[in-house]
Symmetry: C2
Subunit: 342 residues, 2 copies
């Protein structure tokens, strides 16, 4: 592990993406997303993606300077075409449309197609909650990554969900989880750190349990969390973001994953201030529960990420050596000099 | 266990509720709900509730003949006051409003307050999916039933979610789960059957693991499913149905749980027939996965309930002796004669 200051990583990532041909504005949105993911402790969605994203630009799978457009809309819905720019940009546009329509109409449903990898979903639910909008966002696909409950071959992606709910004086509630037991990015990270994954997360290519992260790229698969319940949510994510949202029909090919977003104004049924104040009360009730053996305190969803970000702003962001070496190699391939970290 | 034909249970339940003062129409909706839950194999939401519901009517906590009213609405939202009639009736009205508004506007959010116990959530998502509407319904509360992840005192109800998604020729997808590892009704049922509950579901009053269902009524608590993920969903259910929906402010007292429903027309982004046809394809992809060791086949959400209903229509519905004795005692208390089962 090497510790880097967030500003150093932001500057490095910015110079790499601009050298790869991205304009300043899309670079800024993308890099902010990556660094925020690392700060929050979700390194699986952070700078480890730089080499892959640069390769996608070089191979024409990502059009870094394309601008998302609205294909069709009503006062309560919109279908956004991401035009294969960075998914973090398309999903942000989709979220902003959902927030605006939820504020004006009360509730809105937005689909994003041709959107590539959108990164950490919690980014979008946080953005909405900050503006007083309850958000659900999901991205799901039928991909050979996760086995269904009771099966021994993969059929789902990691099909995550995120939800944001605005509080008053407390931090907003931010829920973000893969419907697989573990995120694919966390398996990549365990492999980079040369660590095992916990038992119950992976099957090998023959359908047998394993803790070796390399099994995933060798024909193995993830398991859904919570048995049939996680498997049901993985199914739902695929139906919402790849079937309800016409991702396959519109996007085609390997990049057919869509994004599905629902925004609900927190004031849809009564004054928003009362909703936010009662959210604080719910948070306080949960925080007042005495911890179980092995826990220091009960945490509310979103709290671990805020704690980690506070710590990493002070202490730096730990990056595995292999990950850093791959980023440096990508930079050198683009003729970008990497200054010594300070 | 005693096996009863569905028609016999329907007739018996109908005569009991009418003797308790319920008019034919609310009785019919309530009894259909209970029998459908038993047929689907979810006995926790079936006729075992008859004694409790009759007691609630006798004590004035349920007004069986009250009619739900819409307190406020827009083209995409409504707040329904259940007027403390049977929750199965209030939630059905809320669902019908959500379906109608989703069909006309594309998407709708509905809250139901003063709605008492609404029974099996899958009933409502099934109703919507049959009409080509994607539905999410949740009911959640801050109640001393389920511990948060990392805690040793209860703070949540069982806070379930259900989702419906329409298919074309295949059965619609119907997802329905408690965010606790096990539903409270299933613990009641295990107690009636004098069985244990599986390990990992319950803590006793001191926060220690137990498999004794009686622990729940002796100060014990349920655990959330899937660790922090289930705990997050339990938090979300409470925020959506008790805070966003102004259940506490509107309902007051012990019956303050609200219901939150989002309906989305399956044709919101493109022709509904394409969505339903692609849903069939997703179902077929899941069904094609070879079963893991210990499983005969991979099941899609909603399929186990349909199988059980087919079987129970033929073979009858099994009711534990204690449950049946309590129903008979309730009937006799109302002067209702119970004919011999045929």
């Amino acid at each position: 592990m090497i510790l880097f200051r967030a500003d150093y990583l932001r500057d490095t990532a910015t110079r790499i993406f601009q050298a790869a041909g991205a304009d300043p504005e899309p670079t800024s949105i993308l890099v902010d997303h990556l660094i925020a993911a690392n700060l929050a402790g979700h390194d699986s969605h952070g700078v480890q993606h730089i080499p892959g994203y640069v390769r996608a630009v070089q191979e024409g799978r990502v059009q870094p300077n394309a601008a998302p457009v609205v294909l069709r809309e009503t006062p309560v819905s919109a279908l956004v075409d991401g035009q294969f720019t960075f998914g973090q940009i398309s999903a942000r546009v989709g979220t902003e449309v959902a927030i605006a329509k939820a504020k004006s109409a009360g509730v809105a449903a937005v689909g994003v197609v041709r959107c590539t990898h959108i990164g950490r979903l919690g980014t979008y639910s946080t953005l909405a909650a900050e503006q007083g909008v309850v958000l659900m966002v999901t991205i799901g696909a039928m991909l050979p990554a996760t086995a269904p409950f009771g099966g021994r071959k993969p059929v789902f992606g990691t099909n995550p969900f995120s939800f944001g709910f605005p509080a008053a004086d407390r931090p907003d509630v931010m829920i973000d989880f893969a419907t697989s037991t573990i995120a694919a990015g966390k398996v990549m990270l365990a492999q980079a750190k040369r660590e095992s994954v916990p038992p119950g997360c992976l099957l090998d290519q023959d359908g047998n349990p394993t803790t070796d992260p390399k099994a995933l790229s060798n024909g193995g698969m993830l398991l859904p969390f919570g048995g049939h319940k996680g498997s049901a949510l993985a199914t739902l994510a695929a139906l919402l973001s790849q079937v309800l949202v016409p991702a396959a029909e519109t996007g085609g090919g390997q990049l057919q994953t869509g994004t599905f977003i629902v925004g609900i104004d927190a004031g849809i049924f009564r004054e928003k201030s009362k909703v936010e104040a009662e959210t604080d009360e719910v948070i306080d009730q949960i925080k007042a529960i005495p911890p179980a053996s092995g826990f220091a305190e009960v945490m509310v969803s979103g709290e671990p990420e805020l704690r980690t970000a506070d710590r990493r702003r002070q202490e730096g962001i730990p990056i595995p050596e292999d990950t850093w070496a791959a980023i440096v190699a990508t930079a050198h391939g683009l003729g970008v000099a990497i200054p010594t970290a300070t």
